[in-house]
Assembly symmetry: D2
Homo-oligomer: 307 residues x 4
Amino acid sequence: MSKHVYHGIVPPVVTPLNADGTVNFDDLTNLVEYLIASGVHGLFALGSTGQVCYLSEEDRVAIVRHIAKVNAGRVPIIAGAMEVSPQTVIRTANKMIEAGADSIVTTAPMYTINDEAEVADHFRIIKAGISVPLFAYDIPVRVHKKLSPKLLVQLGKEGVIAGVKDSSGDDVSFRRLLAYNEAAGKPLVLFTGHEMVVDAMALIGADGAVPGAANYEAAAYVRLWDAAKAGDYATAVKEQKFINDLFEVVFVPAGRSGDATGVGAFKVVMAARGIISSATMTAPLKGLDAETTAKIEKIARDLGVIS
Amino acid sequence: MSKHVYHGIVPPVVTPLNADGTVNFDDLTNLVEYLIASGVHGLFALGSTGQVCYLSEEDRVAIVRHIAKVNAGRVPIIAGAMEVSPQTVIRTANKMIEAGADSIVTTAPMYTINDEAEVADHFRIIKAGISVPLFAYDIPVRVHKKLSPKLLVQLGKEGVIAGVKDSSGDDVSFRRLLAYNEAAGKPLVLFTGHEMVVDAMALIGADGAVPGAANYEAAAYVRLWDAAKAGDYATAVKEQKFINDLFEVVFVPAGRSGDATGVGAFKVVMAARGIISSATMTAPLKGLDAETTAKIEKIARDLGVIS
Amino acid sequence: MSKHVYHGIVPPVVTPLNADGTVNFDDLTNLVEYLIASGVHGLFALGSTGQVCYLSEEDRVAIVRHIAKVNAGRVPIIAGAMEVSPQTVIRTANKMIEAGADSIVTTAPMYTINDEAEVADHFRIIKAGISVPLFAYDIPVRVHKKLSPKLLVQLGKEGVIAGVKDSSGDDVSFRRLLAYNEAAGKPLVLFTGHEMVVDAMALIGADGAVPGAANYEAAAYVRLWDAAKAGDYATAVKEQKFINDLFEVVFVPAGRSGDATGVGAFKVVMAARGIISSATMTAPLKGLDAETTAKIEKIARDLGVIS
Amino acid sequence: MSKHVYHGIVPPVVTPLNADGTVNFDDLTNLVEYLIASGVHGLFALGSTGQVCYLSEEDRVAIVRHIAKVNAGRVPIIAGAMEVSPQTVIRTANKMIEAGADSIVTTAPMYTINDEAEVADHFRIIKAGISVPLFAYDIPVRVHKKLSPKLLVQLGKEGVIAGVKDSSGDDVSFRRLLAYNEAAGKPLVLFTGHEMVVDAMALIGADGAVPGAANYEAAAYVRLWDAAKAGDYATAVKEQKFINDLFEVVFVPAGRSGDATGVGAFKVVMAARGIISSATMTAPLKGLDAETTAKIEKIARDLGVIS
């Protein structure tokens, strides 16, 4: 097991780009410093928000190496190894571990058509090929397989996985996962990926959250989390409402794809706050247009986030 | 452009394995010789039937190299480069081209959430990174995006793609694709991936088929295709009915996953016919059990395919 | 069993409306006369094309009564009884039978979450409540359940259903249905609902088609069918290509719903040909706008269908 | 508007049956008395849990009439009018209103393929045809359309709908609905249909819940709700955990359909507690077998719910 404790606010780190589409490592330094200064409890590199599936393997490893260097051990780093087969997940994971990742996160197989026993073996094969904790990323909207509470707790009891990032949007399933995990002696650390209901998920027992919106407003999430841990749910709800009002930025872009919209809006606010220098997106995604950018900035300005 | 003409029966080559799960290259030699001796018009390496997403990149490249060596230029080889980002598709594709692939086939992005313009650019980026013809593999059941007829013909007119393998199961869309392609001067070679309706698809103008079932019964497909090309649809339908009766083997396995079932049944018949030496599957898939194997062999025996 | 033979071209009859949204029975007379004069082999009243789920039960029964009166026994009438429970299907079905329907067609349950055994019993309960042949309408895009070939042939062997209208878009399933039905001694009459591939479906053994596009171009479908029955597939394909070129009208409306688009385009061509007097749609659907109407009419004019 | 205030725990009332499948009105009396004695704040007749789409219209109206008679005005009654067209929804709704329903609830259209503007008009047409408050039932798993927060709040501002039962399982959407409704001056009463997360939904601002599980354990839900309203979330979570442990009964049935499983398990516990006399299900559903029943009863016994 890692020396680290996984809990609290663990943002999925955005990948900043130069105008020519290459990775902007100076901006990445700024972003990591912003997040850690805001009090986040960990960093999730190369998730969907980090646009993991729009980058070369070399860039992905370089990003992990850079984040690890800037972080310098202050918080634990979970790195996303998303690949098309168990063997390629292991290959990339080991490069990321060599580059400084403290743990690895991966999804159910994304192209294949499997039953639950095969998905369980997929995770077992990957865990056998790496030397650090493995997290399961439950994101059916992308890989079109739901990881059941029973499967996840079974893998936790075996020591195959150390935790889960739940981006399934299935709150009944997450509630059952919390209950089964508790009944099994808490083998798993359970993170919600739903940034708009972190207050509610804290109430029912989540160990933390992986909110993309923390890339531009990390402090409010940390305040939310601290309040919830202290049992002050009125404050947690108040912070969440502020976060959600700001989160309306992702619903501004009309007629664009899901991937262009969410991270695109995040980058606009990040750039407006000076956390990164450009809202450039990875090809084949294109950045948001000037009109959309202005609408997003107006929301942020009206909420006092930018001036 | 390639020197090759793409048309007719182009089986998606099964990946034979040793009992320990490593690739059985002797069996692969046998399989390629069986297919070419049966008269197939091309080979599609590392599609879903070749279990592309259960193998390491090294094995995938070695398989292409071996098929190319055995083939020795007799028929064109299309190799599947399925990866998680445009950059990794290009990297693997170029390794496969160096290993002897005559052309590359890839899918829409499999993890990301994109609109049609982004999917078009995905193919454009990949084409710009390779030097051989590129085919689009339309398989929404795996990548959860449908490639529209307009998109495909547009990419054909631009010279981005040379053809399509349609495994969408959407016959209305395929009919429109045929019509749009004809109206555009036939920039695309259009293959159906639906092995049970090759007679019907030949009637309406398909240029060829990529039938997984040809791995164990290639000759019937070649007879079907030759009959259809000669306008003898009565014979084409007769051959298709024989193929379909035999194809019932894939519906025998009960309670198993889609990937274990289809290729699993193919391998059982291939092993029973002596085309390969073992029905071993790639982990985390497991082979079919003895009872299921016996039922599959009975179907093949009743149809005179094995003795 | 009915005295009728079910086969060939059986259009799903559009419901013509007055400008105020009430049913236009004079237009309905014209439409039925047009279809029968064109040589169709039956009439399918109140399917999706007839906008069955946008009408009161009273109107639906009145439409059946009117069609039956105009038809006067010339061709068989299949009437769609789409309701939310077996009991309400039976109630409406019996009103339609009293009004002159020769047989009834219904779908799998549309709101409930059932397994295959329950769906089978759903059809058995309905059949026990009516005295005429029952057809199964396989349309998963609307009721989100696929009727399997085994289920359908089992119901055929029991005498529960007399036939199937397949609008599943799953050509592999339809091919298996044809094979299983033949092996069982043909208990079922099998219609395809896919208007763009009637030539191909005739080749592989369909007993008929239920093409919505026959509402505005019935004669071409009858010529297609006659050619296919005579084994002249070159002519069948030629007629289908003409039909498909004209069918592009349904792809003209942009940014509108599926239900507004398809029947909306049909009605525009029907009105332009004088088969009905108004392209009015049932609320909450709205008719197509003038620009879209003009584009549709241009396609029809370019193909010589209207002048 | 109704004289009633809609809020709190509003169970979707199970429909008790005699062994022959007819409605057991004596049991229905007992059930209504049990629920009201437990302190519930309203009754939702003929939702999915009431098996609305397995009953004749006559039975559905008779059930509403009986519930209204037993209730005698003590709590408000919302009755489900689920039908295939706006006209038939209105017809059934008016029969239910005449029978004593205080308000009506209905879903988006279930068979048709519509855009959001058409769905909005669907609700507007229905509201224009009835004289009591209308609730929208957002249940995409059954009708395959999601009602967006913007659509619902717009309909609320127009006075078309008075509230929403959210069974979408989409917590991000529900959070946005709460925020938009608050910003609009609370035109809507917002109920969650997710019985396992009522504590969390109360925290974030839900006005009530429609929990199927209240049919067998209403008192715990009332205690949960009262605690949450008093700001005592520790107690609310504790009650929810008890409810959830008991809710494991619905995960016991293996290999059965969704509709047989959930209500089937509810009825087993209700019968074991003496709230109803038989766990008979409506055809084509079948009741749970003896082994499954015993496992369900063991869960209830271990939790002290039955002796």
